[in-house]
Symmetry: C2
Subunit: 584 residues, 2 copies
């Protein structure tokens, strides 16, 4: 590693020749593949952006010139060039940096970013703020890798034309999203690539922006020339660069979808280092829906650019045919589309990761629930034990959805209950239904599961006891069972309830508890504020019932240790029992 | 009225000649102006779409062919032609129909729509559902009047190109949003108009769509020819029609912004029938911010296409210069832009109507609050006494915002407290701040107001009493004062608290209440589920304190009588007192 170790800041980079930078690119690629093989992370996006990032830091003067990376999952080379190379060179330092840009790490990072399609808008704010404050410098937004189809990105690109000052949008066109790209604009990008940027109907020009094209998006020399051409420009411009996703790692170049993000792997074979054969809820979902689609042409599965999140491998997508719809990164559209399909008599099942569902509150409320169209939404990975990056927290789906009228939000506690809910929901025509799909390995029912859930807000009393009632929601039902077991060891005989419905209260059951219970405990696998437990607390507010609500307190946490986080929120059976006994 | 009274369904329209339809258009225009002058409503959008709506219903066969209107505020002529003319002919029937499409009124309406930019996605769902179910018929989305810049519209247009079957997008280009259009795509539309649809860089073609242009968008004959050309087409196509907003009412043609929506007015002069001189919070806000902008170039006010909602008249916008930013209908972009400006050292104040704020949950969480950038968001019209159309309810901003970490959400109770909070927030650099701006006529402080609110979650105890404490949030502080007065008449001496902070709990004050209070009452001007009161109920859950929470129960209500609605939710001082006394 002749060069990479000596680059402590972009100033060191500027001393290199083109040829030296090409060697540097190769060193960085080696580091990336090595770290990713051990640590996991975003492979393809970073491998494709090595040269462009070198060229940007060579031409521009970060941090006075500000580079904002969309999703910021393609910022690894940027980190290496801005004083954080150690976190890619030394395994013991691999965890020193976030997988995304992080202002607390470096003055070269301007935002914490993890959701797609935000960089143009955020960076245009830096540009506008610069102008308002009378400051100088280039502002560069780097967007691509499927993000362009997101509404926020398109809003930002549209507005950028009004910014009558320096603003550079680098469109990293690697012809891919996580899976293949979807949407008509990618046809337009293809025509631009094929015509060396010269074709009619350039969407960027049609939206009022200046434009240049760089065909060799992995050629440092060509990129430097392009960036020099736009540096200090006095108006907004798009620099469209044609890059190769996964470049330099043959397996990633060949299978771009698999290698968008990868768990640790063997560099030579590409095989994952740890491979679990246990069936999980993602696989279960895709396989179950695939059967449904085969049996009934009206059923369709919809994803917004993340088929892999719920088991939809390329093979399964192909088998589903017209019954599988990937709208690309366009969550808002996905919800409205599902509402329209349901209205037309179809049976749409939309799968959205809890974190990305956050983009669709208004669509779920307005397009879906006011219209009361019977679509199904599967809320995926919604758990405190899910992704731990602050930008990908899956803590907030209960507060987000549970206050929306007309929506039935269900929390299954095991595989059989989940599939019964899903089957029922697909045929149910009264209301939209959301299901909080459990995460990870499947678990089985130990009690009978009903086939219908039309009796809205009817809880299941699993065990009848007295004094203490545990209302254990969804994935935390197992925690509730443990609390019950521990209480029984203490001579307390509690009631155990599986509420099933997140969006309402079984007033009859709760009223009945008043006669011989003094404490009701709620357990939910998500944020407490605005959540399920608070509904119970409010319901019992005017009564003598004491209520203890368990969930995550209000905070943004980043890259947390899950066990420590749960303990910090007293989400541990022994702690809960301790609290109950203290209150009894 | 020779023709309009005889049109009971589109079939009756199809028997008319072009000349007769032109007379019909003139009759409809007379009806629209007459009803709007008495009833109020959307003037310009409907006056501009009379001919296009006639032509669509002449060519297509609704309801087998399905027409979906974006925002659906331009659907009045559609209602007249589909059996609902009486609601426009007879004043006693004016309120028989909604101002938006409403499936419960007619089989010709497919969705309840009131927010912008949703029609393309919803209609594409109808088209996809049609295909999945093996049905037939045209699906037509009508979008325009500023809506194209919204992310959901752009996501939908992008995805439409993938729909390999019949789908017609009518772009109603009246060169306006509510105010003037913003965003580069409107430059592109202008070039298309100037070139009769033939210019290079057609954004629709760039996004993979077929396209035709109709220059005479208010000429029934030309429109019929165009719609016949696309009827039963086997792929998606855009029909771009050039219409005149406000056509046929000279005042509305001249001043398109004022006449987008109007309260009842005198037809001859255009003067409003009822005109209040009382200062309101909208005017107060714009005037105050205008002064701030004049004094400090770093301050800017941002709107997403709705400047009039918070007092920003064209004159005031002009006076603010670069300090006023209208991003067009693009709420998501507006939030990210504000975050970027704040990061760059600017002092952005973003005004969003509570109902439209719903589109920005993810941007507020990710772009703003995770980054903890100190922008100010003014939540406008957020009240149960605000707009009463189901699509425009302003009930949900507390549940939406109050669970987001880092955000300080403030609820002022009077004019002086509001301006102190606003002044403080503009200079505060620690966290993003949202302020729930009161609605309607201003009211004055009767007690001193602090200049700083940095002591986060510190409530104000306004009156000290015992037994009962009333925590009266924001606009409902006045309700709290009335409850206190009535309780005193009953010999009860309650505590009165102005919490000021929606997003947190003053644990010290709440703990102290335990010693000599038995009941805590919360009052909030919004939905109960996930709201402020539930936080208090949860906090007191393990204690002996009884908690009564007042707000709106979970439901979508439409065109409600506000007084009846408040009574139905027991949001009346005498009812609250009755409940308290019963519980004491």
């Amino acid at each position: 590693m002749k060069y990479v170790s000596n680059i402590k800041s972009p100033a060191d980079l500027k001393r290199l020749t083109i040829e030296e930078m090409e060697v540097l690119a190769s060193e960085i690629r080696t580091l990336l593949i090595r770290k990713l093989s051990v640590h996991g992370g975003h492979c393809g996006p970073n491998l494709g952006m090595v040269e462009a990032t070198i060229a940007m830091h060579y031409v521009f003067n970060s941090p006075e010139d500000k580079i904002v990376f969309d999703v910021s999952h393609q910022s690894y080379t940027h980190k290496i060039l801005t004083g954080r190379a150690d976190a890619f060179i030394y395994p013991e330092h691999y965890d020193d940096v976030s997988g995304y840009t992080e202002p607390s790490e470096s003055e070269h990072d301007h935002f914490i970013i993890g959701h797609t399609s935000t960089a143009v808008s955020l960076a245009s704010g830096l540009a506008k703020g610069r102008d308002l404050c009378g400051n100088r410098g280039n502002v560069i937004a780097v967007v691509g890798d499927g993000s362009l189809s997101g509404g926020e990105a398109l809003e930002g690109i549209d507005w950028a034309a009004e910014l009558n000052s320096n603003f550079i949008i680098v469109v990293n066109d690697n012809q891919m999203s996580i899976a293949e790209n979807h949407g008509g604009l990618y046809q337009g990008l293809e025509q631009l690539r094929q015509s060396n940027g010269m074709c009619e109907n350039n969407m960027f020009k049609a939206m009022g922006l200046d434009y240049i094209y760089v065909d060799k998006g992995n050629d440092i020399d060509a990129l430097i020339k392009a960036f020099k051409q736009v540096k200090d420009i006095d108006h907004p411009i798009v620099v469209h660069i044609n890059t190769l996703k996964g470049k330099g790692y043959a397996l990633a170049e060949e299978d771009k979808e698999t290698w968008h993000w990868s768990a640790p792997f063997d560099i030579e074979t590409g095989n994952l280092t740890y491979n679990s054969d246990a069936e999980d809820y993602d696989d279960l979902t895709a396989l179950h829906l695939l059967e449904k689609i085969k049996q009934d042409k009206k059923v369709c599965a919809i994803t917004a650019g993340t088929p892999g999140v719920w088991g939809w491998t390329p093979e399964r997508r192909q088998m589903a045919g017209a019954g599988f719809i990937d709208v690309g990164i366009a969550e808002e559209h996905a919800v409205a589309l599902a509402s329209g399909i349901a209205k037309a008599g179809g049976k749409p099942v939309l799968g959205l990761c809890s974190s990305f569902l956050q983009r669709t509150y208004d669509q779920i409320s307005q397009d879906l629930c006011i219209n009361d169209n019977p679509a199904t939404i599967l809320v995926l990975w919604g758990s405190l034990s899910s992704m731990t990056d602050v930008t990908h927290l899956c803590h907030f789906d209960i507060p987000l959805l549970s206050g929306i009228p007309n929506l039935v939000y269900l929390a299954p506690t095991n595989q059989e209950e989940y599939l019964a809910m899903l089957d029922w929901s697909i045929e149910y025509r009264e209301h939209p239904v959301a299901i909080k799909v459990p995460m990870g390995a499947t678990n089985h029912a130990t009690r009978p599961v009903p086939a219908h859930f039309s009796d809205i807000n009817k809880y299941e009393k699993v065990e009848s006891g007295s004094d203490v009632a545990i209302i254990a929601l969804g994935a935390f039902f197992a925690l509730g069972e443990n609390v019950v077991r521990l209480l029984k060891e203490q001579g307390i005989n509690p009631t155990l309830i599986n509420p099933r419905f997140i969006t309402g209260i079984d007033t009859e059951m709760l009223d009945n508890l008043k006669s011989d219970h003094r404490i009701v405990v709620t357990l939910e696998d998500g944020a407490l504020e605005g959540g399920f437990g608070e509904k119970i607390a409010r319901y019992y507010g005017p009564s003598d019932m004491k209520v203890l609500c368990y969930g995550a307190k209000k905070q943004f946490v980043d890259r947390y240790n899950i066990a420590e986080f749960l303990a910090d929120n007293r989400l541990v059976d022994t702690m809960i029992v301790e609290d109950i006994i203290k209150l009894l």
